[in-house]
């Protein structure tokens, strides 16, 4: 039942996008037009309702998706080895599942250079998963750099929360 609702919602959202251009309307005839420039994105993906409970149940280690890194480091710390191993095992046993790994950085420094640093974090998670049996075609490592901070205060405790790799399964991205 839930599986039917999601596509229906998506269809509604898409219909909404095409019929209500929500920008630039008051600027019609101006040299820069926003009307076709808007693409409404369904933030947060389609939700986790399609995922097996083992990936979402708070009691399951697989519901945890974040690996945190030290400053200027791309090494997976020992306390996250069990988490990465559990996800690798799941991917080995469920070859139909795909994962998007998003690397993140704190806000200091150039945005584009931070994209590259975040990529090193997501690549580290990807490499660890592959060493444990996940296949390359199941995995995509990307970077969000400093653009999607989990915490926005300018403090070390906050920056530490932003230096992370997030593991998302299909349906979550």
């Amino acid at each position: 039942m839930k599986k039917l609702i999601v596509p229906a919602l998506l269809a509604l959202l898409i219909a909404g996008c095409s019929s209500t251009p929500d920008t630039g309307a008051e600027q019609s005839g101006a040299p820069v037009e926003g009307r076709d420039g808007v693409r409404t994105v369904t933030a947060g993906g389609v939700g986790s309702s399609q995922l097996p409970a083992i990936l979402t149940d708070p009691k399951s280690i697989l519901s945890k998706r974040s690996v945190y890194f030290d400053y200027d480091s791309f090494e997976i710390k020992p306390e996250f080895k069990d988490l990465v191993s559990a996800h690798a095992k799941f991917l080995v046993e469920n070859r139909q599942f795909k994962m998007l790994i998003q690397g993140n950085t704190d806000e200091r420094g150039s945005r584009e250079y931070n994209i590259a640093l975040g990529q090193k974090r997501s690549d580290a998670v990807k490499k660890a998963l592959m060493l444990l049996g996940a296949r390359e075609e199941q995995l995509e490592s990307v970077s969000l750099g400093e653009e999607k901070p989990a915490c926005v205060d300018q403090s070390e405790s906050c920056w530490a929360k932003n230096r992370r790799g997030d593991m998302l399964y299909n349906g979550e991205f």
């Binding site: 920008t23 998007l100 998003q102 200091r108 420094g109 150039s110 994209i115 090193k120 990307v142 999607k148």
Partner: protein, 424 residues
């Protein structure tokens, strides 16, 4: 002088507070070492239109930091009025511009003006621009450009446009295009996800940028007049840091499809990908030299992020920066002789400019968080993003560091500026 500008700023703030889009407001600090005293007379003709256009011209010249506005004796003065040069000169003005707004047969405005040298008592320039009411400001910018070029000896940039990203609350990002004076801001793209790294095509008609609307960085080229968007690079992994080649046909981009962040060349339609750098390190933030022969980029191949350059055909890589442990985001001046970049000094990320021939570097700000430098097309100013009071603002800094203009919006963070090319 300052009071005059404040009145102008207040006028703008009042006029645009009703606007749906958050407008940039500009605050100037500092001025050039020598400013040319000039009188912009009240133009003749229909008083409302005349006042509008002279306000634009005066605002442009004053904000540039290169001129000192001198009030006039006679009022108003048209291009046909015979000028009392002795009176103008006695008030200290080296030049005077006078003009008028007239109506054309088809109901548009015609702005005519003349610029005179008060010492030689001769005409320096004269021009006429025909425009609709909605583009009256544009005519003012054109006139200001002519005055600037005649008196300074290089083209003005008052008719150019800038692009930047406004973060307006959680989950709302707008890629906006505005006139160089911050007016007429229009959104080219609105997204719930971040937009970074906008860059103007050399013809000024398109922007390339990185959008995260698909939960990963993807490079688009966006035609401003039509709103048509083309995906240039959406390979497996991250796609970022677009830079136009001077011919407008190719871009340098950073892809991770082959592992690591490496620089590739790609056609503007997404075809013809070729790899430019091959390293086991981070190579990112490519930027073409104006002659298209060299690509400058940031790399950590030496242990810390530094700026390097490589021939566009590959090979012959040279390190450019050596001072400090964090030098990123190279941006070449339009004449290719100097390079703006961001350098970490005393714990702050600051705008720096290097003379490429002598390697001499000057730090232009004392900020904590400068980012994303972008040269004005005449090479005189550099637009950067910085942070003041925890809020993102834009700042235009003259290449000698003397003149600083701050551009901010009332509600939101402004970041990722890109100064557009001369308008054709």
């Amino acid at each position: 002088m300052n009071r005059h500008f404040r009145q102008f700023a207040v006028l703008c703030a009042t006029a645009f507070s009703l606007s749906a889009h958050a407008q940039l407001s500009i605050e100037v600090t500092g001025a050039g070492a020598t400013r040319i005293p000039v009188t912009i007379a009240d133009f003749g003709g229909e008083p409302g239109a005349a006042r509008a256009i002279t306000t634009v011209i005066r605002g442009d010249l004053e904000r540039s930091g290169m001129f000192k506005l001198v009030e006039q004796a006679q009022s108003p003065l048209t291009e046909a009025t015979s000028i009392d040069f002795n009176a103008v000169r006695s008030r200290g003005a080296d030049a005077i511009a006078a003009g008028s707004i007239g109506a054309t047969a088809d109901g548009r405005h015609e702005a005519r003006f003349r610029l005179h040298d008060t010492n030689k008592q001769s005409q320096l320039a004269g021009a006429a621009f025909v425009t609709s009411t909605s583009l009256l400001r544009a005519a003012g910018h054109r006139i200001a450009d002519v005055i600037y070029e005649k008196l300074i000896g290089e083209p003005g940039i008052f008719s150019t446009r800038i692009a930047y990203v406004v973060k307006a609350g959680v989950g709302r990002f707008e890629l906006q295009i505005a006139d160089a004076d911050g007016q007429n801001a229009q959104a080219a793209l609105i997204s719930k996800e971040p937009i970074i790294s906008p860059v103007w095509s050399p013809d000024g008609g398109r922007l390339a940028y990185v959008s995260f609307e698909n939960k990963k960085p993807v490079i688009y080229v966006h035609s401003l007049a039509t709103g048509k968007r083309t995906v240039v690079a959406n390979f497996k992994g991250s796609n970022s840091a677009p830079a136009w080649a001077p011919d407008g046909r190719r871009l340098a981009v950073v892809l991770t499809k082959n592992g690591g962040s490496q620089i590739f060349l790609i056609n503007a339609d997404g075809s013809g990908v070729t790899r430019l750098t091959t390293s086991g390190s981070i190579d990112t933030e490519p930027q073409f030299s104006p002659d298209g022969q060299t690509v400058f980029f940031t790399s950590d191949r030496g242990g810390s992020p530094q700026i390097y350059r490589v021939s566009v055909s590959g090979g012959n890589t040279q390190r450019v920066t050596f001072e400090g442990t964090y030098n990123v985001t190279p941006r070449l001046s339009p004449d290719g002789k100097s390079m703006a970049f961001i350098s970490r000094r005393d714990g702050g990320f600051r705008l720096a400019v290097m003379d490429l021939a002598s390697r001499q570097t000057q730090i232009l700000t004392d900020s904590q968080k400068d980012e994303s430098p972008s040269f004005a097309p005449n090479g005189r100013m550099i637009l950067i993003a910085t942070e003041i009071g925890g809020r993102g603002v834009l700042s235009a800094v003259s290449v000698d560091g003397r003149i600083k203009q701050r551009l901010s919006v009332a509600a939101g963070d402004v970041r990722e500026p890109a100064w557009g090319p001369y308008q054709k």
